[in-house]
């Protein structure tokens, strides 16, 4: 219980730090924030435009007042308005966030489906050719940047074979099948590297479980090797693997940036890239804020889940 409260307080603190840092981000940079905001493309903005923006953003107020206003706006769920189309940033983020989460989830499921059986196979055949080939392949996959995977996938499956579209998106409600077709390639691109991570974890967990006494008991009963591995080894090795995969979900939040760009997936990350290109500050800050919150929250959930599974953590 103590651990739970402490861990939650730390996360709250982190969220506060992130909020403050993002507020300061505009003011840390040398020069006038308003000028900075308007100087995209290297053209010096007209003085009257700068003055108008200073007024609009409240930049003439003292810093402490701006900070309070900033926190109050955030508390009301106001992330400001986009420079490009004057839309509230929060609307666009909320619209796109589920798509990014869907992509991450699909990638995680795929990675688990690929990495877990292969990891178990490599562990059972430890030290033999199967293990060495699979482990070598995994360490190679870990060295391929996700945008390279994505680009090669587009080249082979969309350009050469013409099996799938090169990228895009259809809402689930419009056409469920088409939706899945569009989801497949970006999810697979992410899962290639992730599956290698799952593979390594699964291999280690299964190797560890194989040494356990209950596996010997299962064999002493006269069970078939397949049944021993599936029911008494993989079933037990699953818990640590899924937990650690959860840990990686947080880092995936940043990793989708490149994949969404490659496949034109309209999630929050591609919104961010577009905003960075346009130097649309409110949008950049809004997306970074929301995703960082999510990142901290996900890490909190995984930590708490971990404590639930392993009572020793709670009392540490």
């Amino acid at each position: 219980m103590n651990y739970l409260i402490r861990r939650c307080l730390i996360s709250l603190g982190l969220i506060y730090v992130v909020t403050t840092l993002l507020f300061l981000a505009l003011h840390i940079v040398p020069g006038d924030p308003a000028e900075l905001l308007l100087s995209g493309g290297g053209v010096a903005p007209a003085p009257e435009t700068v003055a108008e923006l200073r007024d609009r953003l409240g930049l003439n107020d003292p810093l402490w007042k701006q900070y309070i206003d900033h926190l109050v706006r955030l508390a009301h769920g106001d992330l400001g308005t986009s420079f490009q189309d004057d839309h509230p940033v929060v609307e666009e983020v909320v619209r796109r966030l589920p798509r990014t989460l869907e992509l991450i989830l699909a990638a995680a499921v795929l990675a688990l489906a690929i990495g877990l059986p292969l990891g178990a196979l490599a562990a059972v055949r430890r030290g033999r050719a199967t293990d060495r080939i699979l482990s070598g392949f995994a360490s190679f996959n870990l060295s391929v940047p996700v945008f390279v995977t994505g680009t090669i996938l587009v080249l082979v499956f969309a350009q050469k074979l013409r099996w799938v579209p090169a990228g895009g998106y259809t809402p689930l409600a419009t056409d469920p099948l088409q939706h899945l077709v569009f989801l497949l390639m970006p999810a697979f691109a992410i899962s290639v590297g992730l599956a290698a991570v799952v593979f390594r974890m699964a291999r280690a967990a299964v190797l560890d479980t194989l040494e356990r006494d209950w596996v010997r008991t299962a064999r002493a009963k006269g069970l078939s090797p397949r049944r021993v591995v599936v029911r008494h080894v993989v079933r037990n090795a699953l818990t640590p693997v899924v937990t650690v995969l959860g840990l990686h979900m947080g880092s995936l939040l940043g990793g989708t940036v490149l994949v969404e760009y490659v496949f034109n997936w309209p999630g929050v990350s591609s919104l961010l890239v577009r905003a960075v290109e346009q130097r649309d500050y409110p949008e950049v800050l809004g997306v970074v804020l929301v995703v960082s919150f999510l990142f901290i929250l996900l890490n909190l959930v995984v930590d708490l889940l971990y404590a639930l599974l392993d009572p020793r953590v709670r009392h540490a």
Binding site: V146, T151, A220, L223, L253, L258, Y261, V273
Partner: protein, 638 residues
Amino acid sequence: MTSAFDLAFLRRIGWPLAAVCLILLVAVLAPLLAPHDPIRMDVVNRLGTPNWLHPLGQDEYGRDILSRLVYGARVSLSVALLSATIAACIGIVAGLIGGYFGGVSELLTLRVVDIVLCFPPMLLALLVVTMLGPGMETLTLVLSILFIPGFARVTYGEVLSTKNQEYVEATRALGAGSARILFGAILPNIVGPILVQFSLTVASAIVLESGLSFLGLGVVPPAPSWGLMIRGARGYMEQAPMGLLWPCLALVLTIWSINQLCDSFRDAVDPRSGGSTRGFWTNLRAVLGMSSRAAPSGAVAPEVVLAVEGLKTRIVTPTGVVRAVDDVSFQVRRGETVAVVGESGSGKSMTGLSIMGLLPQPAGRVIGGSVRLATKDGRIVELTDLDEPALRKIRGEQVAMIFQEPMTSLNPVHKVGTQIVEAIQAHRAMDNAAAQARAKALLEHVGIPDPARCLGEFPHQLSGGMRQRAMIAMALSCEPKLLIADEPTTALDVTIQAQILELLRALQREHPGSMSVMFVTHNLGVVAEMADRVLVMYAGQIVEEADVATIFARPRHPYTRGLLDSVPKPSHAADTDASARRRLATIPGTVPNLALDRVGCAFAPRCAMALDACRQGDPPLVDVGGGRRSRCLRWSEL
């Protein structure tokens, strides 16, 4: 670390090191190696195919692809190395200060650095790029910031574990200042982990740099960068797919080489990852070459259930081959309980596992001898000849086994009932309902008060004694001819121990002659209570065999006598006079290392009666009359 950089280490990291050096060389010598200026355009020949002038062809602006690849290495590596170096310098200092001084300095260094970890790395990078605009300087700054916490944390952890070591204390005692201690005594000793972190960082930096350049937010065109080349070639992948593949290949091979180098570093730095597996496989091959099976001598007498003859088992370790079971021969008769006694490491458990074919894999091998079993249907089966599927039919059905730790021997994630049902269905064609009913009957039989509830409970919900009863129920589920009980009461407290022993005796009494027991234990009190006959094992060999009454009355081997003398006798406890309260005898010395070659009697180094003759030839196990055997040259003097 000095020992880590010997020749064997260099050989092991050989090819990744060579590859990384080659890439570095290419980057340094780029102006010499590149045939053309990497940014000179030749729009007339855009997307030109490979020719003598342009070995890899030309890109969408007619620039030479090979030259751009070579210069790209320069850009990627210089950004990566520079930012990793900056991050290392700041991170190491923060970690050293935070770890060494603790308290407020820890808060000011480590916790501040940790703020970076609140953001997903790519997002933080994009934020900074928005603020400062894209370019090499921004890129280096962003990457440095991102990798500081990694270095700080590694250094911090290492400092915490190093700062109270003796050599640090010694430096402090000599009056050295904090700075001298930190940089002179601590830093040199944590170089290994930091080196690993550095190579990891360089690889991640290259990934991030190329990723940002790919988005058009890293290196600014027209400067050559692999990420930018992929970005450019993407638009023309249909016409010129090779223009896309070359930078991909360069990028992946570079990252891969660095990662491989990093893995090798880690193996060298981290003693736990060993790296001595090569020794293991060499030893295993040697053991596989040793296998030799002699045909067992003569027929098996009708009352014998198990006949073991000349059994030899080897356990392969990276450093040597352990003679776990060394020429062991014995028999178990119908309905009999044979106790196998010895210290830990004497080979008694390995004998049981060898019979079952359950040796740890791939380390354990039976390399010689014969194990014959009289099955329920009256056949004599040579177990060492059976393959895995045939052995599976023996396990559980003909020979069952219970183990020392009922907590760890039952699978924690499956219900007790499921685990018993599984044992039944492995050998009997029974549907789930029938198997459940039989499992319930079995649990009742072994004295579990509420068998119906126990079926649906998980192992951790039962007490230790109940768990062992459930294990016994599982072992009995197919009415085996032989039960191998491997220290079944060692992990239990004394009263529970007595109950379990009583249960095993009662089960054997119920149907006299139906089940034999091979009882592996180190507890002589349990032996006296359970056994008909006793085998004493030492260093993988049987040193004495006798029936239980005679062995307690008159041991014929000094080791047996030593074991008996080291057990408190009830008569002594009752006596109050001083002579009876003398200290218990112990056997001097320790169990020998069974991986080493040995000449003479294995017990001789610990034996008060040892002669020169004992240290020369291996004494044979001789028949000393009355069905007794002893492996002592001086048995008649005992």
